[in-house]
């Protein structure tokens, strides 16, 4: 079939769902974006190196700065970390793969295509208002260029990628650990990823809502961010509610990595590992209540700003504990300064500087001088580059032997460290001294006196950037010609080092067990190193033979491409004419994407693909909860935040509006009442369908599903008539004011969820007719029910909020 079109090697990389290969794909792609974003930065630094320079004009400069930020944060830092997570975490917890391998591959392809989209945006004029995309300058009125729409499409795609990954890793870490691999026995890296996932799950929906509302503003002329009632502060809140956890999201995996690298090279156990993990959890939770420190000078009032000062300063406490504990690991140790150790320790040192300067910015009083200056730029680059990137590079050197089976050149790596570390400080430390200089200006005059420090910083930039050439040369050459490394060149303790390097396709011959005394037991009951984790030949015990061809699926990449086309089509339409107020969608691409999407959904569901489920696993605390159900509840959690933010935006603009239509003036309460009853009934029929499935009544199941579908359709019908009537009656369309805007968008989003649910009923009906879901196989009906009842719950809130108050 399609498998024959591509040669085996290409096919393998395009269709793989193996966690190791997906991990390598993430790593290579992230490094590619790192180079791209780094080149953008070097151009920016060149422009800034002397006063009154004109290497880049203002427009190009703003685009370069914006895309540099977007690429680094979304397309480099997290994917780099998750490349490691994909490859290493199943190995460290003793699992065979992630919980949902095809979903995993799909996450990668969504990520890749979203990266294509953001690079493509340069064609149309890339986004140029900073990665923070403040309102109202991002509204159509001030930025008609469609490059911003393309950027928004890219961001939506990568958010989808991340949400899929979050659900996947969560279920994997909670439910697929090897026997004896209790949560407290896990190394710090999986813990860090787990904590990161939680933050992603609850932060990204806010971002999705924000980008969606921005897109709708630009495409349909709504007023969320272009009005005074919403505008700058609405975006500020919604964006930074996501934005602050996001910067911890890009940091924590590196911290977890460093916490595992240091004990290996210090030859002693990690000091206070449970306090480190506890601190990570605390910091993650606190990260959700500090976002106001990005809004210190917006005028939100002293009560709020003082509160945020306290929470932001408080969040440095868990980081104190983490840093001190990692340093205390070195006490009475035997420190081997290999490249990974150098980068890990260097990262801690730079992170300390970044963290201390963060405390400066946490003070609302100091922020009144430092806001929007290069002090801020220096602070976050010390954390993100000094802490995160250096930590991730440590991981690269650490795990390179495991991925390739070869050792890199230690001397070149040490030089790489030295030059990077020095170059880094020459690049960024002067920026602290430039605390008077505004951010995001493409030039400045000589009389400001900012020239010398800028020149110094640019020099540092080229040194730091140039040093990375050593990294790539070292790794590429060593991959071909480095000496064999053996399975455990660092004499480390985590499970991935018990496997050969590079790790064979099937990972473990037999899943290891951790005994009560903490020792590993492999297969024949013996412990390492007497027992072996890998039999010399490729024959495998347990009958779990596994070749590359097994586990391949074309649907992840096809589905991702479909989504890419769809969202691209939504974003590249030209402004409407004659008076531009919004954009026309580009229907050909949208249609292509939609059709391809439907085809791939169909193919995905019909494909015979089994995930690997071991019978004996550690799964506290979700012992009795099946994988898919846990996945669905997790996803619903993200949906709660998503709708929460949409409803929050409605509250925000409404509170800020002097007048609002009275109850019953705009919307017919009877309509709302009817719709609520219809939807409640549809939940009842869904329950009845499930009950029928459980007792084996096929007709009952069909009836229940049909009824649910019908009621869903009635709901949509009533809503459609209502919308049409509102549209024809007054000047009541999407573009005619905030009451209209918030109503249409919020209930519209809900309506899309109803449509999705109805599609699910169609799918389930088709399968029921084929004989499935009766008796023991009822789970799909149950899962549909979970989703459908959630949609019902959302409406239960929307009814009073829009119709009754």
């Amino acid at each position: 079939m399609s498998q024959d079109i591509f040669p085996p090697r290409v096919r393998r990389w395009l269709f793989t769902t193996n966690h190791k290969e997906v991990g390598i794909l993430y790593l290579v792609t992230a490094l590619f974006f790192f180079i791209a974003a780094g080149l953008l930065a070097l151009t920016v630094r060149t422009q800034l190196s002397v006063p009154d320079n004109n290497v880049l004009n203002a427009d190009l400069y703003n685009q370069f700065v914006t895309v540099h930020g977007l690429l680094m944060i979304f397309w480099v830092l997290s994917p780099f970390a998750f490349g490691f997570a994909n490859y290493i975490i199943p190995l460290q917890i003793g699992a065979r793969d992630l919980a949902f391998p095809r979903l995993n591959a799909m996450s990668y392809w969504f990520y890749l295509f979203s990266g294509v989209a953001i690079i493509m945006s340069f064609i149309f004029g890339a986004p140029d208002l900073g990665w923070t995309l403040y309102s109202p300058q991002t509204s159509f009125q001030f930025t008609p260029a469609i490059g911003l729409n393309v950027g928004a499409a890219a961001l939506i795609l990568i958010t989808v990628s991340i949400t899929m990954s979050s659900v996947n890793f969560l279920v994997t870490v909670f439910k697929m650990r090897a026997p004896g691999m209790k949560l407290r026995n896990m190394p710090v890296f999986p813990w860090a990823i787990l904590v990161t996932i939680f933050m992603m799950l609850y932060a990204f929906p806010s971002f999705l809502a924000a980008v969606l509302l921005l897109y709708v503003d630009r495409a349909f002329g709504t007023f969320y961010f272009s009005s005074i009632q919403g505008g700058a502060l609405l975006w500020d809140n919604v964006f930074w509610f996501f934005g602050h956890p996001e910067v911890y999201i890009v940091l924590f995996p590196a911290i977890g990595l460093i916490a595992d690298v240091i004990p290996t090279f210090a030859r002693r156990p990690l000091y206070g590992s449970k306090y480190i993990i506890g601190s990570m959890i605390a910091a993650a939770i606190i990260s959700f209540i500090v976002w106001g420190h990005h809004m210190f000078v917006t005028g939100i009032g002293l009560t709020s700003t003082k509160l945020y000062t306290v929470t932001t300063i408080a969040v440095s406490l868990p980081f104190d504990v983490m840093v001190i504990a990692m340093i205390e690991t070195l006490i009475k140790a035997r420190v081997k300064l290999k490249a990974a150790a150098l980068f890990a320790l260097g990262a801690i040192a730079l992170f300390v500087i970044g963290g201390i300067t963060g405390v400066y910015l946490a003070s609302v009083a100091l922020d009144h001088a430092l806001r929007g200056t290069y002090f801020v730029v220096a602070h976050f680059h010390y954390i993100m580059v000094g802490g995160s990137i250096m930590g991730l590079i440590a991981g690269l050197y650490y795990w390179f032997p495991k991925f390739t089976g070869r050792m890199y050149n230690e001397t070149v790596a040490k030089i790489h460290f030295g030059v990077s570390f020095i170059g880094f400080n020459i690049l960024y430390f002067p920026m602290f001294l430039l605390l008077d200089m505004p951010r995001r200006i493409q030039t400045y005059t000589a009389d400001t006196g900012w020239g010398p420090l800028n020149s110094l910083a640019t020099l540092g930039g080229f040194i730091f950037g140039g040093a990375q050439v050593l990294l790539f040369l070292n790794l590429v050459v060593s991959q071909r010609r480095g000496p064999p490394s053996g399975p455990n060149p660092w004499d480390a303790w985590t499970l991935e080092w018990s496997l050969p390097s590079p790790v064979p396709a099937h990972d473990f011959d037999t899943i290891p067990t951790i005994a009560e005394d903490g020792t590993y037991r492999f297969g024949n009951g013996s412990s390492y190193p007497n027992g072996s984790a890998h039999s010399g030949d490729s024959k495998v015990g347990n009958g779990l033979a596994y070749s590359h061809l097994e586990g391949m699926s074309p649907w992840p990449i096809v589905m991702a491409f479909a989504a890419f086309l769809f969202f691209l089509g939504l974003s590249i339409g030209q402004p409407s004419s004659p008076t531009p107020v919004s954009y026309k969608p580009f229907w050909p691409l949208i249609a292509d994407g939609a059709i391809l999407g439907v085809i791939s959904l169909y193919g995905y569901s019909r494909e015979r693909f089994s995930g690997h489920e071991e019978s004996h696993v550690e799964s506290w605390p979700f012992r009795e909860v099946p994988n898919v159900k846990l996945g669905i509840w997790t996803f619903l959690g993200a949906e709660v935040i998503f709708f929460g933010v949409l409803i929050g935006a409605y509250f925000f603009v409404r509170t800020n509006s002097a007048t609002w239509p009275a109850v019953g003036e705009l919307f017919s309460i009877r309509n709302g009442f009817a719709m609520t009853l219809v939807l409640l009934t549809s939940s009842l029929t869904a329950i009845m369908a499930l009950a029928s499935a459980k007792i084996g009544s096929r007709n009952g199941l069909i009836a229940g599903l049909l009824a649910t579908f019908g009621l869903g359709a009635s709901f949509l019908y009533i809503k459609a008539t209502e919308w049409i009537e509102l549209g024809t009656h007054g000047v009541f369309s999407v573009a005619s004011g905030l009451p209209a805007t918030s109503y249409f968008i919020t209930t519209g989003t809900h309506g899309v969820h109803v449509v999705a649910g109805m599609c699910m009923t169609v799918y389930l009906l088709a399968n029921t007719v084929r004989g499935r879901y009766i008796k023991g196989d009822y789970h799909a009906i149950e899962h549909f029910g979970l989703y459908w009842h959630f949609v019902d719950i959302v409406w239960v809130f929307l009814f009073p909020l829009f119709y009754l108050i």
Binding site: Y202, N237, F241, I285, F288, I289, G292, G299, I300, G301, T303, S304, L307, P621, F622, R623, E624, V625, K629, L630, W633, G637, V640, I641, G644, G648, F651, F652, T655, N656, V663, G664, I669, R670, F673, T676, L677, L680, T681, S683, L684, A686, I687, E782, G785, L786, H789, F790, D792, I793, V796, F797, F799, P800, L801, Y803, L804, I805
Partner: protein, 81 residues
């Protein structure tokens, strides 16, 4: 269960027609309280949370508690200046 939900909705509907006679704050609170109650009932019974293992329901409850804390923080900001 269904009857309770429909009944609750009916109360909301009637409350709306009486809206002029009730102080606005109480009106909104009652409505939101009713909505919340309906949501909890749907979650517990339709989505089966009452019968699921503790771990799952705690998961959900913790998430909701955190979400409400966040909403309160935002309200503080809205009415704080």
């Amino acid at each position: 269960m269904f009857a309770i939900l429909v009944g609750g909705t009916d109360i909301e509907f009637n409350l709306a027609t009486l809206q002029a006679t009730i102080p606005y704050n109480y009106y909104v609170s009652i409505l939101l309280g009713l909505a919340g109650m309906k949501a909890i009932l749907i979650a517990m019974f339709y989505q089966h949370l009452k019968y699921e293992p503790r771990s799952l329901s705690s998961w959900v409850i913790i998430g909701l508690v955190i979400a409400s804390l966040l909403m309160s923080l935002s309200f503080l900001q809205l009415h704080g200046h």
